[in-house]
């Protein structure tokens, strides 16, 4: 990976790391369980994007398989959390 690409990928990684901070804040503060579930959803998305960027940064394309699996896991986790939020209400 040549020089400009490394700088570009590092900038993207920093942006992703900064956008993880509101996720953590929303996970801690709430105020409802649905907010925490939404924050966890976004956190998984940010993590998947970061893994994809790392696959290019480290020139290790096998990490893209992890992104594919993580997409499925994020969807299943969201649906399971939705059921949990629904069941908590009664």
């Amino acid at each position: 990976m040549e020089g400009e690409a490394v700088i570009l990928l590092d900038v993207v990684l920093v942006v992703l790391a900064v956008s993880m901070l509101p996720v953590i804040w929303r996970l801690v503060v709430g105020p409802t369980d649905a907010d925490r579930a939404a924050a966890l959803d976004l956190g998984l998305f940010v993590f998947l994007a970061a893994v994809a960027v790392l696959a290019a940064r480290l020139e290790f394309p096998a990490l893209l398989d992890l992104v594919l699996t993580g997409t499925l896991v994020a969807f299943l986790a969201t649906v399971a959390l939705a059921r949990l939020v629904h069941r908590r209400s009664r």
Partner: protein
Amino acid sequence: MRTVLAAIPLLVGAGLIAVSSLGLLRLPDVYNRMNAVAKAASLGVVCVLLGVLVLLFDPRSAGVVTVAVALQLLSAPVGGYALAVAAYRAGSPLAAVTRYDDLADADADADADADADAATPEVEPRAGRRERPPCGDGLDGPAGG
């Protein structure tokens, strides 16, 4: 050249994810935040994946990224919708600026239909919508847990 070509989707995707994160921080209620997460963040992940594919192009990565993008575009709206409906059923407060609550009307209509089917004409119509306290900045809603 390839770096410049990859920079466009990578920066667009990172910007979309950052905007989505800002929306999670600033938007007033659960439904608006879910909107930011389900749309902007999934599109941001798709853009980042396409940018990564431009940077390291080989056929196997292309196949994996195609499947991941398709799965993301299919599953993220479904998950966001499921979570938003679950939040509504759990009684999350609507923002004070909410003007239309079609789901409450639908629930009231369903209740009215159920009452009509029960064939008890003297039963009084149920109060369809639950009491929802408005939540001003999203921080003073009821703690949910």
